[in-house]
């Protein structure tokens, strides 16, 4: 039985955001190199979709594609789903504990300079919640603090650092020729796997009409920007076309090379 197909979509989010396009900033690969996929690791991937058909024309297998998206400037998608939230909360817990101790010391000695410095340090180490534009066009506080690519909370003083974990890009739709022609039947599914907050795109394929077809990925790319000194998650919607090559072979009996017969037992 044919294996499931995974198309891995790796995006340089920062470069794509700044250039306003995915061309040149996207790298595609799949798990069917030995089965005929071409141009692995480039933007010109052609994914092989190998079907089989019974002699009456009906499809004998059902190829299944999954798309997984990852950002070059983002933490690995394989981290536990609550990783960012856990890191945010942990940094707040550490800061609160430090402040509580300082506050107690301040009570007994209001003039203590080291206590005052400690409080300032604890406050400065606190993470930052960027804003993002919600569905009503209002700026809203993002639930997660900024992290860097090592998973550390980024304090306000380091906001301009170049190793900020950018919100990973996400696919928002799959359209195009292959969908219009009834070759790909895409849909978004939920998963317990820690990919894009538990959502991924998948499609079943019809292999009754072999040929090369293109499809369009609709991708939302995020980047941290600053407006009025305030960090904001800005998104841009982009599209990128990729291709599938659909082939089909007719089923034959493994024992006879033709129709079904007696088992070759001697």
């Amino acid at each position: 039985m044919a294996q499931q197909i995974t198309v891995y979509v790796l995006i340089d989010s920062v470069a794509a955001f700044e250039a306003n396009r995915l061309e040149g900033n996207i790298y595609l690969m799949d798990n069917l190199r030995t089965e005929g996929s071409k141009n692995q690791g480039t933007g010109q991937l052609v994914t092989a979709i190998n079907g089989t058909a019974w002699s009456n024309g009906t499809q004998a297998n059902e190829p299944l594609l999954n798309w997984l998206v990852a950002g070059l400037s983002s933490l690995p998608v394989t981290l536990p789903r609550n990783y960012q939230l856990d890191r945010s909360r942990e940094s707040e817990r550490v800061a609160l504990d430090a402040m509580r101790l300082d506050a107690r010391a301040l009570k007994s000695d209001p003039g203590a300079e080291n206590v005052r410095d400690g409080l300032i340090r604890a406050a400065a180490a606190l993470g930052v919640h960027p804003r993002f534009e919600n569905e009503h066009g209002e700026l809203e506080r993002h639930a997660l603090q900024l992290l860097d690519l090592r998973g550390e909370v980024v304090p306000e003083a380091d906001l301009e650092a170049d190793d900020i974990h950018q919100l990973p890009p996400i696919i928002t739709d799959i359209t195009g020729e292959a969908v219009d022609e009834g070759i790909l039947y895409p849909a978004q599914y939920g998963t317990p796997v820690p990919i894009n907050a538990g959502w991924y795109w998948s499609a079943t394929a019809s292999t009754q009409r072999p040929g090369v077809y293109s499809y369009t990925m609709h991708i939302k790319v995020y980047k941290l920007i600053f407006a009025g000194g305030q960090p904001i998650w800005q998104d841009k919607d982009m599209t990128y076309d990729s291709q599938i090559q659909v082939r089909s072979r007719q089923m034959v009996n493994g024992f006879t090379g033709g129709g079904t017969g007696l088992l070759p037992i001697c």
Binding site: M1, E35, A60, R249, M251, G254
Partner: protein, 146 residues
């Protein structure tokens, strides 16, 4: 009337490619209505009667790994009594799995099988085209019971 029999060959492909032995990485089960032995192991003995259609299908336990049935070959009388041959096959690795995917491994149980005797077959599985791509074993069998 006894219906057809499907023999499902479930394979832990990652373990097989890492050199696991067939006993540890391949699991056979059938849906026949007679009492087969060794279900869920590589030593399945499927009870059958003449006229039934038997169909083998492979399934990867991890859906994103490749596996297909490259060959099902019944051992002849001389082979059947000897030691069981288990391990990597000497068959040269052929084309991609897709070529095997278009093979329908099905056939009808012949009337001339001797009842009560286990007719062992050698099953060769292909997982991609790498160094450990082929695995073979001949521990499973068909047995005519009526």
């Amino acid at each position: 009337m006894v219906g057809n029999i499907n023999i499902a060959v479930a394979v832990d492909v990652a373990a097989a490619l890492s050199g696991g032995s067939p006993d540890d990485v391949v699991f056979l089960i059938d849906d026949g209505s007679l009492a087969s032995e060794g279900k869920g192991t590589s030593r399945l003995i499927t009870d059958c009667v003449p006229g039934q259609l038997v169909r083998w299908r492979s399934y990867a336990i991890d859906l994103q790994t490749p596996v297909s049935i490259k060959a099902v070959r019944f051992l002849n009388w001389l082979d059947r009594g000897g030691d069981q041959a288990v391990g990597r096959d000497d068959v040269a690795s052929g084309g991609p799995d897709w070529y095997n995917d278009s093979l329908d491994w099905s056939g009808i149980v012949p009337w001339f099988m001797v009842p009560g005797l286990a007719y062992r077959y050698r099953l060769t599985l292909q997982m991609g085209t790498g160094p450990n791509a082929l695995i073979s074993f001949d521990t499973a069998a068909l047995k005519r019971v009526g």
